[in-house]
């Protein structure tokens, strides 16, 4: 394998995303000897701050400092990457909302293979890269073989590779001129901040969190009763908010709130990575789910395999009796 590997660095307010060092680690799993280049795009002082911050893990950092990418517009960035990247490159991009926006189209424009949401890399043999993915919201895993002879764009899920610390001592190279100018048919307007609710689940010590397993809106009563008995706040997974059964500020996950409770009760929640991505500080986690193979049981401390509609009222009664 004689291909160059690039990592696209996502950053905010001059600070690289956690993915920056994880991509370097993923790249080493593809080819420990490959030249490894980080790409930092943005506008103003932030670009230098980010470029210097990631340099230790990359052999080289390409920086692009342009007003058009002050906000990461995927269409413009895609055009610039196509201008800059050598043919046949392997491009790693974090599997975040920006990465999902950029990557599939980038692979088409670079005429390479594309693999989304990668959780593991099993190495290369010839021009075949062996990758681990998950399907059906993490209920099953697959090995995927990807033909990288013409290059590849690979989205890497956060938290799956141990961040690289090695000191590669990379030099920062200004590639602004090579990026060229790109006109976009999609123009960024503004970021609208999420609504703030009456309750702040991010401050709660104990969360009773309900997922699609609750079945019907009326059944939410049993969750409220349990939360009341425990002195906890009610939070939820995304389908409960999509159905408008609870307000958005109660949603835990990457597109919801990041919570840091001491105790987290996951009730009828399967344990998708987007949900778990909103839980920090490894709380004591109890999962109640009727499917003994639900992914949530891999991360919970304690599990109960049961129908929550029967189990929870009993649990609530016992807690109330005890008091």
């Amino acid at each position: 394998m004689a291909q160059q590997i690039f990592a696209y660095i996502v950053h905010k307010d001059g600070v690289p995303d956690d993915s920056a060092m994880e991509l370097a680690a993923a790249a080493k799993k593809i080819d420990a000897g490959a030249a490894l280049t980080a790409i930092v795009m943005g506008s103003g002082d932030n670009v230098d701050k980010v470029a210097n911050a990631v340099a230790s893990a990359y052999s080289e950092v390409w920086k692009v400092n342009k007003a058009e990418v002050a906000y990461p517009n995927a269409e413009i960035i895609r055009g610039m990457l196509v201008n800059m990247l050598p043919k046949g490159s392997i491009v790693l991009v974090p599997h975040v909302t920006f990465g999902m926006d950029l990557s599939p189209g980038l692979s088409v424009k670079l005429d390479t293979a594309y693999v989304a949401d990668v959780v593991g890399i099993d190495g290369v043999s010839g021009s075949s890269l062996k990758i681990v993915r998950q399907e059906y919201s993490g209920q099953v895993s697959t090995h995927v073989e990807c033909d990288i002879s013409a290059g590849a764009v690979i989205n890497v899920r956060g938290g799956c590779f141990k961040p690289e610390e090695a000191n590669a001592g990379g030099k920062v190279v200004d590639k602004t001129a090579d990026a060229g100018s790109v006109t976009a048919k999609r123009r960024f307007l503004e970021v609208v901040k999420g609504e703030v609710g009456e309750v702040d689940i991010t401050k709660a010590d104990v969360l009773v969190s309900v997922g699609r397993g609750i079945g019907e809106q009326d059944n939410l009563e049993i969750i409220r009763d349990l939360a009341k008995a425990m002195g906890a706040e009610v939070s939820c997974s995304r389908p409960i908010v999509d159905a408008k059964w609870l307000e958005k500020p109660r949603q835990v996950g990457t597109s919801g709130q990041t919570v840091k409770p001491k105790v987290y009760m996951a009730l009828g929640i399967s344990g998708s990575f987007q949900h778990l991505g909103g839980i920090k500080g490894s709380p004591f986690m109890v999962a109640i789910n009727k499917n003994s193979k639900a992914p949530i049981f891999q991360v919970a401390d304690v599990g109960v395999v049961a129908d929550m509609l029967e189990f929870i009222p009993e649990l609530t009664d016992k807690i109330n009796d005890m008091k």
């Binding site: 999902m100 424009k109 594309y114 059906y136 999609r186 609208v192 193979k293 992914p295 109960v304």
Partner: protein, 259 residues
């Protein structure tokens, strides 16, 4: 506004426990309940609402086998005007880029202002919309959770991390992938399904679409399915309900879970 919505028939994960078959070549498919990919259903609802506002028509298209016809009919019962089935043995082994190539061919046979896909489907790849847009040289936005019509363009909100929303202006024609929660998909009753039961749904294969088998040859192939390696894993509480509850309460108390 002429809108094309790309949909997929998938095993319903809220109705099934997905398991790997004995030799790891596939998931166990015998007793699976299938339905429309959840994200696609929101996309179809959104298309119908746009057409209700500004006029035009909604066409639903899927790449799949003959069983996929049922989901086209379901979406037509919801209010989509036309259905198209893209079916060919050669499609079965392709990858995401192949699917986008097939869809591109049908887009070019029509005249659409707006093409919608779901944000992702059963394989969680979320790739088809972005690839299709790039192949068609149309602008693209993923994870769209708000659409407002402007003259000759749209204002779209993309969902980004932390419950925030990124607003963009996007020219037509364009491709958008739709995120759940953008609307409340309407209920489809038996009556509605019956009404479209005998509507003709055209089927196109490889040669009708003018695609070569080589153009959809997979670069990315699934080798096997396996059960994810267990982490440390939860301690599963066993015993009678009473015993389990007693143990659980003790644990919760000791961790500060009961105030």
């Amino acid at each position: 506004m002429e809108i094309l919505v790309c949909v997929k028939r998938v095993p319903d994960t809220s109705e099934n426990e997905i398991e790997v078959n004995k030799d790891g070549t596939d998931i166990k498919r015998d007793d699976l309940v299938y339905s429309v990919n959840e994200w696609d259903n929101y996309a179809v609802e959104e298309a119908i609402q746009i057409v209700d506002r500004v006029g035009g028509s909604v066409t639903v298209v899927t790449v799949g086998d003959s069983d996929s016809e049922e989901i086209l009919r379901r979406e037509m019962a919801m209010g989509a005007n036309n259905g198209i089935l893209l079916s060919d043995d050669a499609f079965a082994t392709t990858d995401g880029k192949g699917i986008a190539t097939i869809l591109k061919a049908i887009v070019q046979k029509g005249k659409y202002d707006l093409i919608l896909t779901g944000a992702q489907a059963d394989d969680g790849a979320g790739q088809v919309g972005g690839m299709l847009a790039a192949m068609l040289d149309m602008p693209y936005a993923s994870l769209v959770n708000k659409i407002e019509d402007l003259d000759g363009k749209l204002k779209v909100g993309r969902e980004i991390e932390g419950g925030n929303q990124e607003m963009n202006e996007i020219d037509l024609p364009c491709v958008l992938s739709i995120q759940t929660g953008i609307n409340e998909p309407r209920y489809v009753g038996i009556r509605g399904i019956r009404k479209v039961a005998s509507v003709d749904i055209p089927v196109h294969g490889l040669s009708d679409l003018g695609i070569s088998a080589d153009a959809i040859k997979a670069k990315v192939k699934r080798l096997d399915y396996f059960v994810p390696e267990l982490g440390k894993g939860a301690e599963i509480l066993e015993g009678s309900n009473d015993e389990i509850i007693e143990k659980l309460i003790e644990l919760l108390k000791s961790k500060g879970g009961i105030k």
